[in-house]
Symmetry: C2
Subunit: 149 residues, 2 copies
Amino acid sequence: MIKNHDPKSHAWAVLLTAHATLIGKIEAALAEAKLPPLDWYDVLWELEKAEDGKLRMHELARRIVLSRSNLTRLADRLENARLIERRDTLHDRRGYHCVITRAGLAMRRKMWPVYKTEIERLFSKHISADEARTIGEALARAVKTAREH
Amino acid sequence: MIKNHDPKSHAWAVLLTAHATLIGKIEAALAEAKLPPLDWYDVLWELEKAEDGKLRMHELARRIVLSRSNLTRLADRLENARLIERRDTLHDRRGYHCVITRAGLAMRRKMWPVYKTEIERLFSKHISADEARTIGEALARAVKTAREH
DNA sequence: CGTAGATAGTTGCAAATGCAACGATATGCT
DNA sequence: AGCATATCGTTGCATTTGCAACTATCTACG
């Protein structure tokens, strides 16, 4: 099979359509299961992984790759749903800690099987472990340098 | 370096952050250059590639992975900017052809160098041709099967 | 033919997003 | 100490998105 595209542009193009297609399916599966959108999962999971289940707003925004103002409102929604709380920080009165609640932990746990099933069905099933390693390493390099500056 | 993540979940996670990070930078570069957002590029490019520079709405939506209703409004914006036109189809009075205009071709050509530079700077520069092939093939497989059903 | 159901595309409305501006606090420099 | 500057997070506003409902047309089938 002959491709008249250079492999890098092709990879980029496919990355975009893969992202759009798979995210669409995953959001649909979550909605179908009456669960919140993927955004919420990301927040909950980052908090759960973090020391003491808490992070500063700006740090959380950085980790889930979201603008600050958008995180403010995403956090509002999660706080309304009692899945996280905002607590004053001790040493910087400008900011807050986002803290995951017990209900937040439970929700994350409830979302995971649905999410996981979709990742496997749509993604993992179709790629080998070697390919996965290649993808992970290559993209991690790109992200790393994109972030540095 | 030891990872305690399986390579596939890791690849998925990195894919998401890479997408978010790089798209953010690319949109910023386009805005900086006073050019329209990436969406517009996708529409223009699909039309330009298509036979006679035209496609049915639903086909265009499918190719750029966008819901129909969102395409309706994206097309409205492009039509207002005179970059595309909607023309009645001969054989199906329900639908239209989206046709790229001369100005649309020019705009696509104007956006490309900016887009291309960013793809290279943020993506291509950091991956080898082999890695690119692996990424392209693996993700294409995933997209293909995700679309089939 | 005529009707039932599918398909094309648009629209209304509620929710989410992006951007710039803002108040508050922290930091650095003289 | 005192002032300029940077950072933290939020807010207002205009734009974009997502979903369901809707009109119009097409297709299939009795």
